[in-house]
Protein backbone atom coordinates (compact mmCIF):
# COMPACT_ATOMS: atom_id res chain seq x y z
CA UNK A 1 0.00 0.00 0.00
CA UNK A 2 1.36 3.41 -0.86
CA UNK A 3 2.31 5.91 1.75
CA UNK A 4 -0.75 8.07 1.09
CA UNK A 5 -3.21 5.20 1.04
CA UNK A 6 -1.88 3.96 4.34
CA UNK A 7 -2.78 7.30 5.90
CA UNK A 8 -6.17 7.76 4.26
CA UNK A 9 -7.96 7.38 7.58
CA UNK A 10 -5.72 9.78 9.48
CA UNK A 11 -7.83 12.38 11.35
CA UNK A 12 -6.13 15.21 9.47
CA UNK A 13 -6.51 13.56 6.09
CA UNK A 14 -9.71 15.38 5.19
CA UNK A 15 -8.25 18.78 6.00
CA UNK A 16 -5.14 18.08 3.99
CA UNK A 17 -7.16 17.18 0.95
CA UNK A 18 -9.28 20.30 1.17
CA UNK A 19 -6.21 22.46 1.62
CA UNK A 20 -4.52 20.90 -1.38
CA UNK A 21 -7.52 21.42 -3.60
CA UNK A 22 -7.84 25.03 -2.53
CA UNK A 23 -4.19 25.66 -3.27
CA UNK A 24 -4.59 24.04 -6.65
CA UNK A 25 -7.62 26.08 -7.59
CA UNK A 26 -6.21 29.32 -6.26
CA UNK A 27 -2.87 28.86 -7.86
CA UNK A 28 -4.39 27.78 -11.11
CA UNK A 29 -6.61 30.86 -11.20
CA UNK A 30 -3.69 33.14 -10.48
CA UNK A 31 -1.69 31.58 -13.27
CA UNK A 32 -4.58 31.61 -15.68
CA UNK A 33 -5.47 35.26 -15.16
CA UNK A 34 -1.86 36.18 -15.44
CA UNK A 35 0.22 38.73 -13.60
CA UNK A 36 0.44 42.38 -14.41
CA UNK A 37 2.03 42.97 -17.74
CA UNK A 38 4.67 45.65 -17.96
CA UNK A 39 3.12 49.10 -18.15
CA UNK A 40 2.58 49.97 -21.72
CA UNK A 41 2.93 53.52 -22.82
CA UNK A 42 -0.12 55.42 -24.04
CA UNK A 43 1.41 56.25 -27.33
CA UNK A 44 -0.56 57.72 -30.11
CA UNK A 45 -3.31 55.29 -30.87
CA UNK A 46 -3.25 53.39 -34.08
CA UNK A 47 -6.11 51.78 -35.89
CA UNK A 48 -5.33 48.32 -34.51
CA UNK A 49 -5.43 49.59 -30.95
CA UNK A 50 -8.71 51.37 -31.58
CA UNK A 51 -10.20 48.24 -33.10
CA UNK A 52 -9.09 46.17 -30.16
CA UNK A 53 -10.53 48.80 -27.89
CA UNK A 54 -13.81 48.67 -29.73
CA UNK A 55 -14.19 44.95 -29.27
CA UNK A 56 -13.19 45.13 -25.61
CA UNK A 57 -15.67 47.93 -25.15
CA UNK A 58 -18.46 45.90 -26.63
CA UNK A 59 -17.60 42.95 -24.38
CA UNK A 60 -17.21 44.82 -21.11
CA UNK A 61 -18.88 48.21 -21.25
CA UNK A 62 -21.61 48.31 -23.86
CA UNK A 63 -24.24 46.64 -21.68
CA UNK A 64 -24.38 49.76 -19.51
CA UNK A 65 -22.90 52.47 -21.68
CA UNK A 66 -24.66 51.59 -24.90
CA UNK A 67 -23.29 49.97 -28.04
CA UNK A 68 -21.66 53.19 -29.25
CA UNK A 69 -20.93 54.71 -25.84
CA UNK A 70 -23.94 56.96 -26.20
CA UNK A 71 -25.05 56.19 -22.64
CA UNK A 72 -28.22 54.63 -21.29
CA UNK A 73 -30.58 56.93 -19.43
CA UNK A 74 -30.66 56.18 -15.69
CA UNK A 75 -27.92 53.61 -16.02
CA UNK A 76 -24.66 54.96 -17.36
CA UNK A 77 -23.59 58.28 -18.87
CA UNK A 78 -22.45 58.87 -22.40
CA UNK A 79 -18.72 58.48 -22.88
CA UNK A 80 -18.47 60.60 -25.98
CA UNK A 81 -16.04 63.40 -25.22
CA UNK A 82 -14.86 62.13 -21.84
CA UNK A 83 -11.44 61.37 -23.24
CA UNK A 84 -8.87 58.63 -22.81
CA UNK A 85 -7.87 59.99 -19.39
CA UNK A 86 -11.29 59.29 -17.92
CA UNK A 87 -11.32 55.76 -19.27
CA UNK A 88 -7.82 55.06 -18.09
CA UNK A 89 -8.66 56.35 -14.63
CA UNK A 90 -11.87 54.44 -14.22
CA UNK A 91 -10.60 51.17 -15.63
CA UNK A 92 -7.11 51.17 -14.13
CA UNK A 93 -8.53 51.78 -10.65
CA UNK A 94 -10.94 48.96 -11.22
CA UNK A 95 -13.97 51.15 -10.76
CA UNK A 96 -15.12 50.21 -14.21
CA UNK A 97 -16.65 47.79 -15.12
CA UNK A 98 -18.88 48.69 -12.22
CA UNK A 99 -19.92 45.84 -9.99
CA UNK A 100 -23.31 47.37 -9.30
CA UNK A 101 -25.07 50.65 -9.73
CA UNK A 102 -24.76 52.00 -6.22
CA UNK A 103 -24.00 55.30 -4.58
CA UNK A 104 -20.42 55.20 -5.72
CA UNK A 105 -17.95 52.93 -7.41
CA UNK A 106 -15.03 51.84 -5.32
CA UNK A 107 -11.45 51.02 -6.21
CA UNK A 108 -10.98 47.33 -6.80
CA UNK A 109 -8.54 45.14 -8.70
CA UNK A 110 -8.70 46.12 -12.37
CA UNK A 111 -10.54 43.90 -14.76
CA UNK A 112 -8.46 44.72 -17.84
CA UNK A 113 -4.72 44.73 -18.30
CA UNK A 114 -2.98 48.07 -18.87
CA UNK A 115 -2.64 47.32 -22.58
CA UNK A 116 -6.32 46.54 -22.87
CA UNK A 117 -7.18 49.65 -20.85
CA UNK A 118 -5.20 51.83 -23.21
CA UNK A 119 -6.95 50.22 -26.13
CA UNK A 120 -10.38 51.02 -24.79
CA UNK A 121 -9.19 54.50 -23.90
CA UNK A 122 -7.95 55.01 -27.42
CA UNK A 123 -11.30 53.91 -28.78
CA UNK A 124 -13.26 56.31 -26.59
CA UNK A 125 -10.84 59.11 -27.44
CA UNK A 126 -11.52 58.45 -31.07
CA UNK A 127 -15.24 58.91 -30.59
CA UNK A 128 -15.32 62.47 -29.32
CA UNK A 129 -11.93 63.61 -28.09
CA UNK A 130 -11.40 64.74 -24.53
CA UNK A 131 -8.43 64.83 -22.16
CA UNK A 132 -5.72 62.39 -23.20
CA UNK A 133 -3.79 60.10 -20.91
CA UNK A 134 -0.96 62.11 -19.37
CA UNK A 135 2.54 61.10 -20.39
CA UNK A 136 5.15 59.98 -17.91
CA UNK A 137 6.84 63.35 -18.09
CA UNK A 138 3.59 65.06 -17.29
CA UNK A 139 3.24 63.20 -14.00
CA UNK A 140 6.89 63.17 -13.01
CA UNK A 141 7.38 64.84 -9.65
CA UNK A 142 11.06 65.56 -10.06
CA UNK A 143 11.78 69.14 -9.04
CA UNK A 144 8.20 69.81 -8.07
CA UNK A 145 7.31 72.50 -5.54
CA UNK A 146 5.64 70.58 -2.73
CA UNK A 147 4.99 73.84 -0.88
CA UNK A 148 2.74 75.13 -3.65
CA UNK A 149 1.28 71.68 -3.96
CA UNK A 150 0.38 71.77 -0.29
CA UNK A 151 -1.34 75.12 -0.61
CA UNK A 152 -3.36 74.06 -3.63
CA UNK A 153 -4.21 70.67 -2.19
CA UNK A 154 -5.34 71.99 1.13
CA UNK A 155 -7.47 74.74 -0.45
CA UNK A 156 -9.16 72.62 -3.10
CA UNK A 157 -8.86 68.93 -2.28
CA UNK A 158 -8.54 68.44 1.46
CA UNK A 159 -12.17 69.34 2.13
CA UNK A 160 -13.15 66.02 0.56
CA UNK A 161 -10.00 63.94 0.78
CA UNK A 162 -8.63 65.10 4.19
CA UNK A 163 -5.28 66.81 4.91
CA UNK A 164 -3.14 63.97 3.66
CA UNK A 165 -5.61 62.21 1.41
CA UNK A 166 -6.99 59.75 3.90
CA UNK A 167 -10.48 60.16 2.47
CA UNK A 168 -13.72 61.59 3.78
CA UNK A 169 -17.49 61.32 3.76
CA UNK A 170 -19.77 62.96 1.22
CA UNK A 171 -23.55 63.02 1.19
CA UNK A 172 -26.00 60.21 0.53
CA UNK A 173 -23.56 57.40 1.03
CA UNK A 174 -20.87 58.76 -1.25
CA UNK A 175 -17.33 59.27 -0.08
CA UNK A 176 -14.09 60.73 -1.27
CA UNK A 177 -11.68 57.82 -1.41
CA UNK A 178 -8.28 57.75 0.24
CA UNK A 179 -5.40 58.55 -2.06
CA UNK A 180 -2.99 56.04 -0.61
CA UNK A 181 -3.12 53.65 -3.55
CA UNK A 182 -3.45 56.13 -6.42
CA UNK A 183 -0.63 56.34 -8.92
CA UNK A 184 0.53 59.77 -10.09
CA UNK A 185 -1.12 59.12 -13.42
CA UNK A 186 -4.41 58.31 -11.76
CA UNK A 187 -4.26 61.43 -9.60
CA UNK A 188 -3.61 63.54 -12.68
CA UNK A 189 -6.43 61.91 -14.58
CA UNK A 190 -8.85 62.33 -11.70
CA UNK A 191 -8.07 66.01 -11.43
CA UNK A 192 -8.56 66.55 -15.13
CA UNK A 193 -11.69 64.47 -15.65
CA UNK A 194 -13.55 64.86 -12.37
CA UNK A 195 -14.78 61.27 -11.93
CA UNK A 196 -18.27 60.81 -10.46
CA UNK A 197 -18.90 63.44 -7.81
CA UNK A 198 -15.40 64.87 -7.92
CA UNK A 199 -15.19 68.23 -9.68
CA UNK A 200 -12.85 68.73 -12.61
CA UNK A 201 -9.69 70.83 -12.59
CA UNK A 202 -8.67 71.35 -16.19
CA UNK A 203 -5.14 72.12 -17.30
CA UNK A 204 -5.85 75.79 -17.87
CA UNK A 205 -7.12 76.42 -14.35
CA UNK A 206 -4.57 74.22 -12.61
CA UNK A 207 -1.64 74.01 -14.99
CA UNK A 208 0.20 70.74 -15.56
CA UNK A 209 3.11 72.01 -13.48
CA UNK A 210 0.77 72.85 -10.64
CA UNK A 211 -0.79 69.42 -10.98
CA UNK A 212 2.69 67.91 -10.67
CA UNK A 213 3.22 69.97 -7.53
CA UNK A 214 0.00 68.64 -6.05
CA UNK A 215 0.89 65.08 -7.00
CA UNK A 216 4.33 65.55 -5.50
CA UNK A 217 2.84 66.74 -2.24
CA UNK A 218 0.36 63.89 -2.04
CA UNK A 219 2.81 61.14 -2.91
CA UNK A 220 5.49 62.63 -0.69
CA UNK A 221 3.34 62.96 2.39
CA UNK A 222 1.65 59.60 2.09
CA UNK A 223 4.98 57.84 2.03
CA UNK A 224 6.40 59.80 4.95
CA UNK A 225 7.10 57.71 8.01
CA UNK A 226 5.18 58.61 11.13
CA UNK A 227 7.85 59.87 13.49
CA UNK A 228 5.54 59.88 16.46
CA UNK A 229 4.55 56.22 16.22
CA UNK A 230 1.37 54.59 14.95
CA UNK A 231 -0.58 57.05 12.92
CA UNK A 232 -4.07 56.01 14.04
CA UNK A 233 -5.27 56.51 10.48
CA UNK A 234 -4.12 60.12 10.14
CA UNK A 235 -7.69 61.25 10.66
CA UNK A 236 -7.18 63.49 13.60
CA UNK A 237 -8.24 63.75 17.24
CA UNK A 238 -11.16 61.32 17.20
CA UNK A 239 -8.96 58.25 17.15
CA UNK A 240 -6.59 59.95 19.59
CA UNK A 241 -9.43 60.47 22.05
CA UNK A 242 -10.49 56.86 21.73
CA UNK A 243 -6.95 55.75 22.55
CA UNK A 244 -6.83 58.09 25.54
CA UNK A 245 -9.93 56.49 27.03
CA UNK A 246 -9.72 52.90 25.92
CA UNK A 247 -5.96 52.65 26.07
CA UNK A 248 -4.41 54.99 28.58
CA UNK A 249 -7.20 55.30 31.12
CA UNK A 250 -7.99 51.63 30.95
CA UNK A 251 -4.35 50.70 31.46
CA UNK A 252 -4.15 53.01 34.45
CA UNK A 253 -7.31 51.52 35.94
CA UNK A 254 -5.65 48.13 35.64
CA UNK A 255 -2.57 49.53 37.36
CA UNK A 256 -4.77 50.98 40.09
CA UNK A 257 -6.42 47.61 40.56
CA UNK A 258 -3.02 45.98 40.90
CA UNK A 259 -1.90 48.53 43.46
CA UNK A 260 -4.99 48.33 45.63
CA UNK A 261 -6.27 44.79 45.42
CA UNK A 262 -6.05 43.11 48.79
CA UNK A 263 -3.96 40.04 49.39
CA UNK A 264 -5.98 36.86 49.41
CA UNK A 265 -9.23 38.75 49.21
CA UNK A 266 -12.01 36.65 50.63
CA UNK A 267 -14.76 36.10 48.10
CA UNK A 268 -18.27 36.82 49.24
Amino acid sequence: MSWITARRRHPAAGYVVVALVLILIGGGYAVATGGRAAASSPVAANAAQIAQGRSLFVENCATCHGLYAEGVNGQAPSLIGVGAAAVDFQVSTGRMPAAEIGAENVRKPPHLTPAQTHAVAAYIQSLGGGPPIPSAAQVSTAGADTGLGQRLFVANCAACHNFVGAGGALTYGKFAPPLTASTPTQIYEAMVTGPEAMPAFNDLTVTPQEKRDIIAYVTNVRSLPNPGGFSLGRVGPVTEGLVAFLGLLFFLVLAALWITVKHGKAHE
Binding site: L148, R151, L152, A155, N156, A159, C160, G168, L170, T171, Y172, K174, A176, G194, E196, A197, M198, P199, A200, F201, N202, L204, T205, V206, T207, E210, L224, P225, N226, P227, G228, G229, A255, W258, I259, K262, H263, G264, K265, A266
Partner: protein
Protein backbone atom coordinates in the same frame (compact mmCIF):
# COMPACT_ATOMS: atom_id res chain seq x y z
CA UNK B 1 -6.76 55.31 75.52
CA UNK B 2 -7.33 54.66 79.16
CA UNK B 3 -5.73 57.90 80.27
CA UNK B 4 -6.92 60.14 77.51
CA UNK B 5 -9.96 62.05 78.63
CA UNK B 6 -10.06 64.57 75.80
CA UNK B 7 -10.21 63.78 72.17
CA UNK B 8 -11.77 60.42 72.70
CA UNK B 9 -12.33 58.81 69.32
CA UNK B 10 -15.98 58.22 68.72
CA UNK B 11 -16.04 54.56 67.88
CA UNK B 12 -19.01 52.98 66.30
CA UNK B 13 -20.79 51.45 69.21
CA UNK B 14 -19.20 52.29 72.55
CA UNK B 15 -18.07 55.44 74.18
CA UNK B 16 -15.11 55.77 76.45
CA UNK B 17 -13.31 52.54 76.85
CA UNK B 18 -9.94 51.62 78.21
CA UNK B 19 -7.42 49.74 76.19
CA UNK B 20 -7.64 46.54 78.19
CA UNK B 21 -11.39 46.66 77.87
CA UNK B 22 -11.11 47.10 74.21
CA UNK B 23 -8.70 44.24 73.83
CA UNK B 24 -10.87 41.89 75.76
CA UNK B 25 -14.09 42.73 74.01
CA UNK B 26 -15.34 39.91 71.86
CA UNK B 27 -17.28 42.04 69.42
CA UNK B 28 -15.60 42.17 66.10
CA UNK B 29 -14.38 45.69 65.59
CA UNK B 30 -12.08 47.23 63.11
CA UNK B 31 -11.18 45.21 60.07
CA UNK B 32 -9.44 41.96 59.96
CA UNK B 33 -6.00 41.86 58.56
CA UNK B 34 -5.82 40.59 55.07
CA UNK B 35 -5.66 36.90 54.69
CA UNK B 36 -7.64 36.11 57.77
CA UNK B 37 -10.96 34.42 57.22
CA UNK B 38 -14.03 35.27 59.20
CA UNK B 39 -14.02 31.94 61.01
CA UNK B 40 -10.75 32.68 62.71
CA UNK B 41 -11.86 35.99 64.08
CA UNK B 42 -14.68 34.77 66.24
CA UNK B 43 -13.47 34.21 69.74
CA UNK B 44 -9.84 35.25 69.14
CA UNK B 45 -8.38 38.12 71.09
CA UNK B 46 -5.51 40.07 69.65
CA UNK B 47 -2.55 39.57 71.92
CA UNK B 48 -1.04 42.46 73.81
CA UNK B 49 1.86 44.19 72.21
CA UNK B 50 5.06 44.81 74.04
CA UNK B 51 8.08 46.74 72.80
CA UNK B 52 10.57 44.41 71.21
CA UNK B 53 8.21 41.51 70.58
CA UNK B 54 7.60 40.97 66.91
CA UNK B 55 3.94 41.40 66.08
CA UNK B 56 1.88 38.62 64.53
CA UNK B 57 1.22 38.38 60.83
CA UNK B 58 -1.51 40.93 60.91
CA UNK B 59 -1.65 44.08 62.94
CA UNK B 60 -5.06 45.17 64.08
CA UNK B 61 -4.86 48.44 65.82
CA UNK B 62 -7.30 51.05 66.83
CA UNK B 63 -5.18 54.12 66.58
CA UNK B 64 -5.11 56.11 69.75
CA UNK B 65 -5.79 59.71 69.14
CA UNK B 66 -2.42 61.28 69.77
CA UNK B 67 -3.23 64.29 67.66
CA UNK B 68 -3.38 66.67 70.54
CA UNK B 69 -2.20 64.40 73.31
CA UNK B 70 1.42 64.57 72.28
CA UNK B 71 2.46 61.53 74.29
CA UNK B 72 5.03 59.25 72.69
CA UNK B 73 3.87 55.87 71.47
CA UNK B 74 4.24 53.09 73.96
CA UNK B 75 3.68 50.27 71.50
CA UNK B 76 4.52 49.83 67.82
CA UNK B 77 1.74 50.78 65.49
CA UNK B 78 3.26 49.22 62.42
CA UNK B 79 4.71 45.74 62.13
CA UNK B 80 8.44 45.68 61.52
CA UNK B 81 8.69 42.72 59.16
CA UNK B 82 6.53 41.13 56.49
CA UNK B 83 4.79 37.86 57.41
CA UNK B 84 6.52 35.54 54.95
CA UNK B 85 10.27 36.23 54.84
CA UNK B 86 10.92 33.83 51.97
CA UNK B 87 8.29 35.44 49.77
CA UNK B 88 9.54 38.83 50.78
CA UNK B 89 13.09 37.92 49.85
CA UNK B 90 11.97 36.75 46.42
CA UNK B 91 10.00 39.92 45.95
CA UNK B 92 13.03 41.93 47.01
CA UNK B 93 15.06 40.32 44.24
CA UNK B 94 12.36 41.08 41.70
CA UNK B 95 12.15 44.67 42.84
CA UNK B 96 15.91 45.02 42.70
CA UNK B 97 15.91 43.58 39.20
CA UNK B 98 13.25 46.07 38.14
CA UNK B 99 15.26 48.96 39.50
CA UNK B 100 18.49 47.73 37.97
CA UNK B 101 16.96 47.38 34.51
CA UNK B 102 15.43 50.80 35.00
CA UNK B 103 18.86 52.19 35.70
CA UNK B 104 20.26 50.57 32.58
CA UNK B 105 17.39 51.95 30.55
CA UNK B 106 18.08 55.34 32.04
CA UNK B 107 21.66 55.16 30.84
CA UNK B 108 20.28 54.02 27.52
CA UNK B 109 18.27 57.21 27.35
CA UNK B 110 21.35 59.33 27.89
CA UNK B 111 23.32 57.40 25.30
CA UNK B 112 20.48 57.58 22.79
CA UNK B 113 20.23 61.30 23.30
CA UNK B 114 23.89 61.67 22.59
CA UNK B 115 24.10 59.34 19.62
CA UNK B 116 20.85 59.83 17.71
CA UNK B 117 20.47 63.14 15.98
CA UNK B 118 17.41 64.79 14.50
CA UNK B 119 16.86 66.98 11.47
CA UNK B 120 14.58 64.96 9.24
CA UNK B 121 11.41 62.98 9.55
CA UNK B 122 13.19 59.64 9.64
CA UNK B 123 15.75 60.83 12.14
CA UNK B 124 13.02 62.24 14.32
CA UNK B 125 11.30 58.88 14.16
CA UNK B 126 14.38 57.01 15.33
CA UNK B 127 15.15 59.51 18.03
CA UNK B 128 11.58 59.37 19.27
CA UNK B 129 11.61 55.59 19.41
CA UNK B 130 14.88 55.28 21.28
CA UNK B 131 14.42 58.16 23.68
CA UNK B 132 10.82 57.27 24.34
CA UNK B 133 11.42 53.55 24.57
CA UNK B 134 14.18 53.89 27.15
CA UNK B 135 12.28 56.48 29.13
CA UNK B 136 9.15 54.32 29.17
CA UNK B 137 11.17 51.42 30.53
CA UNK B 138 12.64 53.53 33.29
CA UNK B 139 9.31 54.88 34.41
CA UNK B 140 7.26 51.71 34.16
CA UNK B 141 9.90 49.63 35.90
CA UNK B 142 10.16 52.16 38.70
CA UNK B 143 6.42 51.97 39.07
CA UNK B 144 6.27 48.20 38.90
CA UNK B 145 9.11 47.83 41.36
CA UNK B 146 7.47 50.19 43.79
CA UNK B 147 4.19 48.31 43.59
CA UNK B 148 5.80 44.94 44.17
CA UNK B 149 7.66 46.48 47.07
CA UNK B 150 4.50 47.77 48.69
CA UNK B 151 2.49 44.66 48.11
CA UNK B 152 5.01 41.98 48.93
CA UNK B 153 7.72 43.47 51.09
CA UNK B 154 5.94 45.97 53.26
CA UNK B 155 3.91 44.02 55.81
CA UNK B 156 0.20 44.38 55.17
CA UNK B 157 -1.51 46.62 57.61
CA UNK B 158 -4.98 47.87 58.22
CA UNK B 159 -5.52 50.67 60.67
CA UNK B 160 -8.55 52.49 61.84
CA UNK B 161 -8.50 56.16 62.57
CA UNK B 162 -11.31 58.08 64.12
CA UNK B 163 -13.04 60.88 62.34
CA UNK B 164 -14.15 63.91 64.23
CA UNK B 165 -17.28 65.77 63.38
CA UNK B 166 -16.28 68.66 61.22
CA UNK B 167 -18.63 70.95 62.95
CA UNK B 168 -16.82 72.97 65.60
CA UNK B 169 -18.12 72.76 69.13
CA UNK B 170 -20.76 75.24 70.20
CA UNK B 171 -18.29 76.76 72.61
CA UNK B 172 -15.79 77.36 69.82
CA UNK B 173 -18.45 78.85 67.63
CA UNK B 174 -19.58 81.11 70.40
CA UNK B 175 -16.03 82.24 71.07
CA UNK B 176 -15.50 82.94 67.38
CA UNK B 177 -18.69 84.92 67.25
CA UNK B 178 -17.64 87.00 70.21
CA UNK B 179 -14.20 87.71 68.82
CA UNK B 180 -15.59 88.66 65.45
CA UNK B 181 -18.30 90.89 66.87
CA UNK B 182 -15.88 92.53 69.29
CA UNK B 183 -13.55 93.32 66.46
CA UNK B 184 -16.30 94.70 64.31
CA UNK B 185 -17.43 96.92 67.13
CA UNK B 186 -13.93 98.11 67.97
CA UNK B 187 -13.24 98.94 64.36
CA UNK B 188 -16.19 101.33 64.48
CA UNK B 189 -17.10 100.08 61.02
CA UNK B 190 -20.58 99.12 62.10
CA UNK B 191 -21.16 102.13 64.28
CA UNK B 192 -20.10 104.84 61.88
CA UNK B 193 -22.12 104.60 58.69
CA UNK B 194 -20.43 107.65 57.16
CA UNK B 195 -17.07 105.85 57.06
CA UNK B 196 -18.64 102.67 55.84
CA UNK B 197 -20.57 104.20 53.03
CA UNK B 198 -17.81 106.44 51.82
CA UNK B 199 -15.40 103.47 51.84
CA UNK B 200 -17.70 101.51 49.62
CA UNK B 201 -18.20 104.51 47.39
CA UNK B 202 -14.41 104.89 47.09
CA UNK B 203 -13.90 101.34 45.94
CA UNK B 204 -16.60 101.23 43.30
CA UNK B 205 -14.67 103.08 40.59
CA UNK B 206 -11.56 101.15 41.54
CA UNK B 207 -13.40 97.89 40.96
CA UNK B 208 -14.54 99.03 37.53
CA UNK B 209 -11.08 100.24 36.51
CA UNK B 210 -9.64 96.82 35.56
CA UNK B 211 -12.56 96.23 33.21
CA UNK B 212 -12.18 99.62 31.64
CA UNK B 213 -8.47 98.98 31.10
CA UNK B 214 -9.41 96.15 28.75
CA UNK B 215 -11.17 98.46 26.32
CA UNK B 216 -8.21 98.73 23.99
CA UNK B 217 -7.97 94.99 23.53
CA UNK B 218 -9.54 95.42 20.16
CA UNK B 219 -11.30 97.84 17.88
CA UNK B 220 -15.05 98.03 17.87
CA UNK B 221 -16.49 96.03 15.01
CA UNK B 222 -18.36 98.99 13.60
CA UNK B 223 -19.51 98.05 10.12
CA UNK B 224 -16.43 96.04 9.25
CA UNK B 225 -18.34 92.77 9.44
CA UNK B 226 -20.59 94.00 6.63
CA UNK B 227 -17.82 94.41 4.06
CA UNK B 228 -15.01 92.48 2.44
CA UNK B 229 -12.14 93.67 0.27
CA UNK B 230 -13.97 92.85 -2.97
CA UNK B 231 -14.54 95.95 -5.06
CA UNK B 232 -15.73 96.77 -8.51
CA UNK B 233 -13.03 95.84 -10.96
CA UNK B 234 -11.02 93.61 -8.65
CA UNK B 235 -9.82 90.54 -10.50
CA UNK B 236 -10.43 87.01 -9.37
CA UNK B 237 -7.17 85.03 -9.14
CA UNK B 238 -6.60 81.34 -8.46
CA UNK B 239 -5.70 81.00 -4.78
CA UNK B 240 -2.16 79.77 -4.38
CA UNK B 241 -0.91 80.67 -7.85
CA UNK B 242 -2.29 84.19 -8.17
CA UNK B 243 -3.21 83.73 -11.82
CA UNK B 244 -6.24 85.64 -13.16
CA UNK B 245 -8.96 83.59 -14.84
CA UNK B 246 -10.78 83.80 -18.15
CA UNK B 247 -14.01 81.97 -18.83
CA UNK B 248 -12.30 80.32 -21.75
CA UNK B 249 -9.86 78.64 -19.39
CA UNK B 250 -12.34 77.79 -16.68
CA UNK B 251 -14.53 75.99 -19.14
CA UNK B 252 -14.95 72.38 -18.01
CA UNK B 253 -18.45 71.88 -16.62
CA UNK B 254 -18.30 70.61 -13.09
CA UNK B 255 -15.13 72.50 -12.27
CA UNK B 256 -14.55 74.39 -9.06
CA UNK B 257 -11.58 76.37 -7.87
CA UNK B 258 -10.78 78.49 -4.84
CA UNK B 259 -10.29 82.10 -5.69
CA UNK B 260 -8.85 85.21 -4.04
CA UNK B 261 -9.12 88.93 -4.83
CA UNK B 262 -6.03 89.99 -6.73
CA UNK B 263 -3.31 91.17 -4.36
CA UNK B 264 -4.88 89.82 -1.21
CA UNK B 265 -4.11 86.13 -1.33
CA UNK B 266 -1.42 86.41 1.36
CA UNK B 267 -3.53 88.65 3.60
CA UNK B 268 -5.17 86.21 6.00
CA UNK B 269 -7.40 88.83 7.59
CA UNK B 270 -8.83 89.71 4.21
CA UNK B 271 -9.02 86.11 3.00
CA UNK B 272 -10.94 85.05 6.08
CA UNK B 273 -13.90 86.90 4.58
CA UNK B 274 -12.99 87.30 0.93
CA UNK B 275 -12.32 83.68 -0.02
CA UNK B 276 -14.54 82.76 -2.94
CA UNK B 277 -15.26 79.62 -4.98
CA UNK B 278 -16.22 79.70 -8.63
CA UNK B 279 -18.10 76.82 -10.20
CA UNK B 280 -18.70 76.13 -13.88
CA UNK B 281 -22.10 74.73 -14.80
CA UNK B 282 -23.57 73.35 -17.96
CA UNK B 283 -25.98 75.63 -19.78
CA UNK B 284 -29.45 75.79 -18.22
CA UNK B 285 -28.26 74.24 -14.95
CA UNK B 286 -28.10 77.48 -13.00
CA UNK B 287 -31.54 78.42 -11.70
CA UNK B 288 -33.02 81.14 -9.52
CA UNK B 289 -32.51 82.17 -6.81
CA UNK B 290 -29.03 82.30 -8.32
CA UNK B 291 -28.73 85.86 -9.59
CA UNK B 292 -28.03 85.10 -13.24
CA UNK B 293 -26.83 88.60 -14.19
CA UNK B 294 -24.01 88.09 -11.69
CA UNK B 295 -22.80 84.99 -13.49
CA UNK B 296 -20.50 84.87 -16.49
CA UNK B 297 -20.73 82.05 -19.04
CA UNK B 298 -22.47 79.74 -16.54
CA UNK B 299 -19.72 80.42 -14.02
CA UNK B 300 -21.06 81.41 -10.62
CA UNK B 301 -19.09 82.81 -7.67
CA UNK B 302 -20.04 82.16 -4.06
CA UNK B 303 -18.40 83.18 -0.84
CA UNK B 304 -16.40 80.25 0.47
CA UNK B 305 -17.00 81.23 4.08
CA UNK B 306 -19.79 79.12 5.49
CA UNK B 307 -22.64 81.10 6.98
CA UNK B 308 -22.80 78.80 9.99
CA UNK B 309 -19.61 79.52 11.93
CA UNK B 310 -17.15 80.49 9.23
CA UNK B 311 -15.26 77.40 8.06
CA UNK B 312 -14.29 77.45 4.38
CA UNK B 313 -16.90 75.34 2.63
CA UNK B 314 -15.12 73.77 -0.26
CA UNK B 315 -16.44 70.27 -0.60
CA UNK B 316 -18.24 70.21 -3.93
CA UNK B 317 -20.12 67.30 -5.43
CA UNK B 318 -20.24 67.81 -9.14
CA UNK B 319 -23.07 65.35 -9.76
CA UNK B 320 -25.50 66.75 -7.20
CA UNK B 321 -24.07 70.30 -7.26
CA UNK B 322 -24.03 70.34 -3.49
CA UNK B 323 -21.49 72.41 -1.60
CA UNK B 324 -20.86 70.65 1.69
CA UNK B 325 -19.09 72.34 4.54
CA UNK B 326 -16.93 69.69 6.21
CA UNK B 327 -17.16 71.27 9.65
CA UNK B 328 -20.79 70.72 10.53
CA UNK B 329 -22.24 69.40 7.25
CA UNK B 330 -24.18 72.46 6.17
CA UNK B 331 -25.16 71.70 2.58
CA UNK B 332 -25.81 74.34 -0.07
CA UNK B 333 -27.26 73.92 -3.57
CA UNK B 334 -24.81 75.65 -5.87
CA UNK B 335 -27.20 75.60 -8.81
CA UNK B 336 -29.85 77.44 -6.86
CA UNK B 337 -28.16 80.35 -5.26
CA UNK B 338 -26.44 78.20 -2.61
CA UNK B 339 -29.68 77.78 -0.70
CA UNK B 340 -29.34 75.67 2.41
CA UNK B 341 -30.47 72.08 1.94
CA UNK B 342 -29.40 70.51 5.22
CA UNK B 343 -27.42 71.25 8.29
CA UNK B 344 -27.20 74.05 10.78
CA UNK B 345 -26.46 76.98 8.42
CA UNK B 346 -29.38 79.34 8.15
CA UNK B 347 -28.34 81.54 5.27
CA UNK B 348 -27.26 80.72 1.74
CA UNK B 349 -23.69 81.49 0.74
CA UNK B 350 -23.60 85.06 -0.53
CA UNK B 351 -23.08 85.30 -4.27
CA UNK B 352 -20.37 87.58 -5.64
CA UNK B 353 -21.45 89.67 -8.61
CA UNK B 354 -19.04 88.96 -11.47
CA UNK B 355 -18.25 90.51 -14.77
CA UNK B 356 -15.42 90.68 -17.27
CA UNK B 357 -12.79 93.33 -17.59
CA UNK B 358 -11.49 94.70 -20.83
CA UNK B 359 -8.93 91.91 -21.18
CA UNK B 360 -11.49 89.18 -20.64
CA UNK B 361 -10.54 88.27 -17.07
CA UNK B 362 -13.15 87.62 -14.43
CA UNK B 363 -13.67 90.54 -12.08
CA UNK B 364 -16.03 91.41 -9.27
CA UNK B 365 -18.50 94.13 -10.18
CA UNK B 366 -19.05 95.09 -6.55
CA UNK B 367 -18.63 93.81 -3.03
CA UNK B 368 -21.05 91.16 -1.80
CA UNK B 369 -24.54 92.49 -1.38
CA UNK B 370 -24.78 91.08 2.14
CA UNK B 371 -22.33 90.32 4.96
CA UNK B 372 -20.43 87.08 4.48
CA UNK B 373 -19.78 84.43 7.07
CA UNK B 374 -21.50 83.66 10.35
CA UNK B 375 -24.54 85.54 11.55
CA UNK B 376 -24.17 88.21 14.15
CA UNK B 377 -26.51 90.37 16.17
CA UNK B 378 -26.33 93.45 14.00
CA UNK B 379 -26.96 91.52 10.79
CA UNK B 380 -30.44 92.25 9.51
Amino acid sequence: MSNNPSGQPGSGDSGEQSWPEYLSSRESRGSFGPGESSAESEGSVPPRRVIGTPPPATARTMLADHGDGGAAQTARELPAEPPDPVKAKKAELIVAACFLIAMLAGFGFLVAYGLIGVGSVTDAQHSNLWLGGTLSLVLLLLGAGAVIWVRNIMPPVEQTEARHPLRSTDADREAFKETFEEGAETSQFVKRPLIRRTLIAATVPLAVAPLVLLRDMGPLPGTSLDHTVWRKGRRLVVYGTGRPITPGEFSSPGSIISVAPEGFQDDDDAMAKAAVIIIKFRPEELQPPTVLPWTVNDIVAYSKICTHVGCPAALYEQTTHHILCPCHQSTFDAARGATVLFGPATRPLPQLPMGLDSQGFLIATSDFHEPVGPSFWERS
